[in-house]
């Protein structure tokens, strides 16, 4: 894995492509405490040669150059990464959302996004076999589903 300054993202990709790693295997993002990381893996077809490069984006400026001019196959990966993580790939030729409807609000794969379905649907794990009649009773200590933030759903569950 190689860390790359964000401003050199496309230059580094172009150099990798020129060295024979012409197949884009993966392009996605990972959320960290300080912001997001864009990850790409490129390989040389027919061999084991591969390289993984990572660029860090600060949380308040989620922009990076699109890889599409170098790897046209990055187009769908970037559209998906954009809608799921809220990253802007500058210079993307067709930045429509790939899977989601437009105007859906918060990007679903960000850790701070509470999925609406989780708020409206009762959690089956709340049932307590030893006291079946008391399931959901407010006096009971609430068993909380994994990954749901404190204060959910009463205070909106936002961090």
């Amino acid at each position: 894995m190689r860390l790359v300054p964000r401003d050199e993202w496309r230059t580094v990709l172009a150099a990798l492509h020129a060295s024979g790693l012409v197949y884009l295997d993966l392009l996605t993002a990972v959320e960290r405490d300080a912001g997001l990381e864009v990850v790409a893996r490129v390989v040389r077809p027919g061999s084991a040669a591969a390289e993984v490069i990572v660029a860090a984006l600060p949380a308040d400026d989620l922009r990076i150059d699109s890889a599409v001019p170098v790897y046209p196959g990055a187009a769908w990966h970037e559209r998906e990464t954009a809608e799921m993580f809220g990253i802007e790939f500058t210079g993307h030729p067709d930045p429509r959302p790939l899977l989601l409807r437009t105007g859906l609000g918060a990007p679903p794969l960000r850790k701070g996004t509470v999925l609406a379905a989780r708020v409206v649907q009762p959690w089956p794990g709340e049932f307590e076999p030893s006291r079946p009649d008391r399931a959901g009773s407010p006096s009971r200590r609430r068993a909380r589903p994994l990954g749901v933030l404190d204060g959910w759903p009463d205070e909106g569950g936002r961090p």
């Binding site: 959690w123 089956p124 994994l146």
Partner: protein, 107 residues
């Protein structure tokens, strides 16, 4: 090799511990149970056991991650090879305990 066709339940092995229900990332397992007093011969006081009344997996939501199979401390959930459990309606994909138990591969 594990055949990831469908998830089967061995009802007699399930203690209604709720672990699979609470760990399932898609919330697709539901369970109903009630406590019962069992008097063991020679015991000073009866002990309480949870009796399983209903158990269902919604295969319209299940993503076949296998977490439920892995977390069950009593090996009550198992991968089974069946695959033809399609349904014409969304509700038809919710498979009740009887169906989950019938999926177990014969020994």
């Amino acid at each position: 090799m594990t055949v990831r066709g469908v998830i089967a339940l061995i009802p007699d092995a399930c203690t209604s511990c709720m672990l699979c229900v609470r760990e399932c990332p898609t919330w697709c397992i539901s369970l109903q149970a009630h406590p019962e007093q069992v008097v063991d011969e020679g015991a000073r006081r009866p002990r309480t056991v949870n009796v399983l009344d209903a158990f269902a997996i919604d295969f319209g939501l299940c993503m076949y991650c296998g977490i439920c199979v892995d977390v069950c401390p009593f090996d009550a959930l198992e991968w089974a090879p069946d695959h033809d459990y399609g349904a014409a309606t969304r509700a038809g994909l919710v498979q009740p305990m009887e169906r989950l138990a019938a999926w177990l591969a014969p020994p």
